[in-house]
């Protein structure tokens, strides 16, 4: 009895002692032996020469977020084509994966938008897959996440903005859609219209800035942490804390982005539904 009670306590103490010895050894090695000149930035592992000088892109190489956006696009397109190339009743591996992904998005869209939701699966699905892939790519050393750049996220958010407005106009017609901006009370319409207008213009900004800020901030923290690598400990902190945290951030930010896309589309498509009641 006494043995079993004492065993965990001594084990716990041993763990702390081992961690302390490791930390002290790390710091000593870092202070006296390691190289302190750490390059904060290095070139990404994959670069394309700049062939777009003609339309005014500066620099010797293309910006890395553009290159990696193209890489992810190629990856997703090839994966999609391979997944559905030979459709069979008993699916193979790739077709199975494609079906699982498609069914997940179908369930999500059915729940959030409703019966009209199926037509938005191309938008929501490609946004989700692209953002998830690029967020996860940012965790591999040497590969920058394209979503850590405001240009990429702004392009995604502007696409969402244009798309949900077009969906609303196509569902309700232009006049009836504009009437939704004017509020329920007719004499308040001149005040309500600019208020709603600015509120809607703020949506793509908040979408893009949130995604950009989360991914860029996470990458910055990792860079600063690893610039202290001569202390030794940051590798442990990175592996133990930052890497799980940034995997979590990647998934959650993807979910938030496509959830908000679906909320906006549902708002634009469904608002007329309530007036008919």
């Amino acid at each position: 009895m006494a043995n079993t009670a004492a065993a965990p306590r001594s084990n716990g103490k041993g763990l702390w002692i081992a961690l302390g010895v490791l930390a002290i050894a790390n710091i000593l090695i870092g202070m006296f032996l390691a190289d302190r000149h750490v390059a904060l930035e290095h070139a990404p592992i994959f670069q394309l020469p700049n062939f777009l000088h003609g339309i005014g892109v500066p620099g010797e190489f293309l910006p890395s977020y553009v290159t990696f956006t193209w890489m992810i696009m190629a990856f997703l397109v090839i994966g999609g084509v391979l997944g559905v190339r030979a459709m069979r009743a008993v699916p193979g591996t790739l077709q199975n994966v494609a079906e699982v992904i498609l069914e997940a998005f179908q369930a999500l869209v059915d729940q959030m938008i409703g019966k009209q939701g199926r037509q938005f699966i191309p938008l929501v699905g490609s946004l989700g897959l692209f953002i998830l892939t690029s967020n996860l790519l940012g965790n591999i050393p040497g590969m920058p996440a394209p979503t850590a750049n405001l240009n990429t996220t702004a392009a995604l958010a502007v696409t969402v903005f244009i798309w949900y407005n077009i969906a609303g106009i196509r569902t309700h017609g232009p006049l009836k859609y504009l009437k939704h901006f004017c509020g329920p009370i007719p004499w308040l319409a001149p005040i309500m219209f600019p208020i709603e207008f600015f509120g809607h213009l703020a949506r793509p900004i908040s979408l893009s800035v949130r995604l950009f800020g989360n991914i860029f901030g996470e990458e910055s923290v990792v860079i600063i942490l690893l610039s202290l690598a001569w202390l030794g400990m940051p590798y442990l902190i990175w592996l133990g804390i930052m890497l799980p945290l940034s995997l979590f951030t990647a998934v959650v930010q993807t979910f938030i982005f496509i959830m908000l896309t679906m909320v906006y589309i549902a708002g634009a498509v469904e608002e007329g539904h309530d007036e008919e009641h």
């Binding site: 600015f198 908000l260 909320v263």
Partner: protein, 72 residues
């Protein structure tokens, strides 16, 4: 409305818009009014008006997301 049983992640998504939209719509109003003023030459007035509209839009969104106002 389709989302009658809100999920945790959906609520998280909607609530995470509140703060950013409050700031962004104010900034959009200010920028819009400033550009309109520079274009039309009516310097202080449209900036003030559009900033007020932007602030109101941010707060309208805030109240809507928090469920104080009913969605139209």
């Amino acid at each position: 409305m389709p989302d009658d049983k809100p999920t945790l992640i959906g609520q998280l998504a909607r609530l995470s818009t509140v703060g950013l939209t409050l700031v962004a719509s104010t900034a959009i109003g200010l920028l819009f009014g400033y550009l309109l003023d520079r274009w039309l030459g009516t310097t202080p007035w449209l900036t003030m008006l559009c900033t007020l509209f932007g602030i109101a839009g941010g707060f309208l969104n805030l109240f809507r997301e928090l469920g104080i106002l009913k969605r139209p």
